[in-house]
Amino acid sequence: MSAFLVRRLLTLAATLLAASLVIFVVVEVLPGDPARTILGPEADPEAVAALRVRLGLERPPAARYLAWVGGLLGGEFGVSYTYHVPIGGLLAERLAITLPLAAVAMALTTAIALSAGVYAAARRGSAGDVAVMALTQLGIAVPGFWFAILLILLFAVELGWFPAGGFAGWDAGIGAALRSLVLPAIALALVQAAILARVTRSAVIEVLDEDFMRTARAKGLSRRAALWRHGLRNALVAVVTVMGLQFANLTAGAVVLENVFALPGLGRLAFQAISQRDLQLVRDVVLLFAVVVVAVNFLVDLLYAVIDPRVKLSA
């Protein structure tokens, strides 16, 4: 088990290193001079040159990369030149919105997908199965931001149950803060739940045909009990794999939905940093996304080992 962990942690570090290189190169080749963008097209060329020096833009790329990564490792994120605040604090503040949003969305996704997928699989070919499959097809076909607009119209404008946008802030109390996350989380979750429900259904159907399910029935378990006691955990390996991938999709989806709901989260920050040419901020935000995705994949790998006792040997 410890060798398994060490190997996975090394992979994790290597992935992040590669990600930081790719991010740095991509940000380098982005057109536009940040100093000129900040100071405006009418600015004095000397002021622009001075700002370039202050931002360290005149140094060679390798030196800037090392300075960036070295700073991150030392916990030094620098100061955003559009927000004029330390980037570390800014990221922490935004993460405190996006992570709960993604977590709530993932919880909703799992709850909807597992119940719909297992229901459909257990009644393969029935009207209920066909209905679930049709709904999930719809869920996959319709983009999340459109769901978001429908949800705002119904639950915010018509019924007034939830705010249409903005974030109450954690200082306003957990209830108020969570209320502002409900609609975006639902909009995020519906699409992912539709995908995951289909994955769950096919994984459960596959498991239902396994020999050990027949053994479970031969022991005297009912169809339902055999599914719960023996089937579900076996189906979970495929489901957890897709859930890991979906968490990455959720963070990407958050970029769009945080803009629809005017939530000051990490996605909105990324969007604004790119439009402002705040390259230092862009690098850090994108790398943070990468950290989240890699960390989730690491968790998924650990989950495999928890679910399936054979994983430790083959790892």
Binding site: F212, R214, R223, I307, R310
Partner: protein, 327 residues
């Protein structure tokens, strides 16, 4: 009264092209403590017969007829009654011990599970009994194996686990579907000895499904030969395998490899192949491959006719076939 009384059992496979009966009017009885083997080629309907008795026919296959078990017709029982019987009075072991055990549960938990289901036993008591039985079926280091997973065991060890799991509630009837087919020959012999010993000791009835005439000859007292969904011959093992009366059984016996075969002598086989599953046609199912077939064989279904004491065969040429038989 017989423990198991199967009468005119049909198992019909639903196919896009219509219904195809895979088991066609099978009848046999098995008394308490007796042993019966069903032999036949792949696809002759022997496994479906066993699954029909367990009430575990796969999707798209329907059972018809009557399966009397301890006086009730299993085919008409509600699902919860069948659940109470399965694992408790009716138990089954399967061919593939690799895939028939849940890969994610420790062995001890799987063996103890029937006690927890049927007897409502607590974990400690059920595990203690599982350990006793695992030791009894000859699983070495059984205490350590309780917490191991199926992938940590060999094929023979896994089959011992399957046997312990099937026997833990003390069933009246054990159905063993090709229990040794997936195992090495030396392990096969050990497992067969074990099954035979346990059946004797516990007075269970045994229904052994196998394509292997040798396995059947060693393990059971009576045998039924199936071909294309029908029983074509049945009787005591010594009679059926010693003096087969049906041309198909004779073909099977002659197809057995022999140590005393002369050099260069061709290995004999049953000519032709089992036709694919299709709608029922009149006449003897074996007529198309039978050397003795004549027009009458293709028009009406031959009834089971006596071929010796307790020995019957479904052939209108029993006398001629008998005369032609040379081992």
């Amino acid at each position: 009264m017989a423990l198991l009384d199967v009468a005119d059992l049909w198992a019909v496979v639903e196919a896009p092209t219509g219904e195809a009966p895979a088991v066609r009017g099978v009848s046999f009885a098995l008394a308490h403590g007796r042993t019966l083997g069903i032999v036949g080629e792949s696809g002759c309907g022997k496994t479906l017969t066993a699954l029909a008795i367990m009430g575990l026919l796969p999707r798209g296959v329907h059972g018809r007829g009557r399966i009397g078990f301890a006086g009730v017709d299993l085919l008409t029982q509600p699902e919860d009654t069948l659940c109470r019987l399965r694992g408790q009075r009716l138990a089954m072991i399967f061919q593939e011990p690799m895939t028939a055990l849940n890969p994610l549960h420790p062995v001890g938990r799987q063996v103890a599970e029937p006690l927890r289901i049927h007897r409502g036993m607590g974990q400690a008591a059920a595990y203690a009994q599982a350990l006793r039985l695992l030791t009894e079926v000859g699983l070495d280091q059984s205490a350590r194996r309780m917490s191991q997973f199926p992938h940590e065991l060999s094929g023979g060890q896994r089959q011992r686990v399957m046997i312990a799991m099937a026997l833990i509630c003390g069933p009246d009837l054990l159905i063993a579907d090709e229990p040794t087919t997936a195992l090495d020959v030396t392990v096969q012999a050990h497992i067969l000895d074990l099954v035979r010993a346990l059946v004797d000791e516990r007075g269970m009835a045994l229904l052994l499904i196998s394509h292997d005439l040798g396995v059947v000859a060693e393990t059971v007292a009576e045998v039924a030969v199936m071909y294309r969904g029908r029983i074509v011959e049945r009787g005591p093992v010594t009679a059926v395998l010693g003096q087969p009366a049906h041309p198909y059984t004779q073909g099977l016996m002659q197809a057995l490899p022999r140590l005393d075969a002369r050099r260069g002598e061709r290995h004999r086989v049953v000519p032709g192949a089992v036709p694919p599953l299709g709608p029922p046609e009149p006449g003897c199912a074996f007529a198309a491959r039978c050397a003795l077939a004549e027009p009458a064989c293709r028009t009406s279904d031959p009834p089971m006719a006596p071929a010796g004491p307790d020995h019957t065969a479904a052939c209108i040429h029993i006398a001629a076939a008998r005369g032609a038989w040379r081992p």
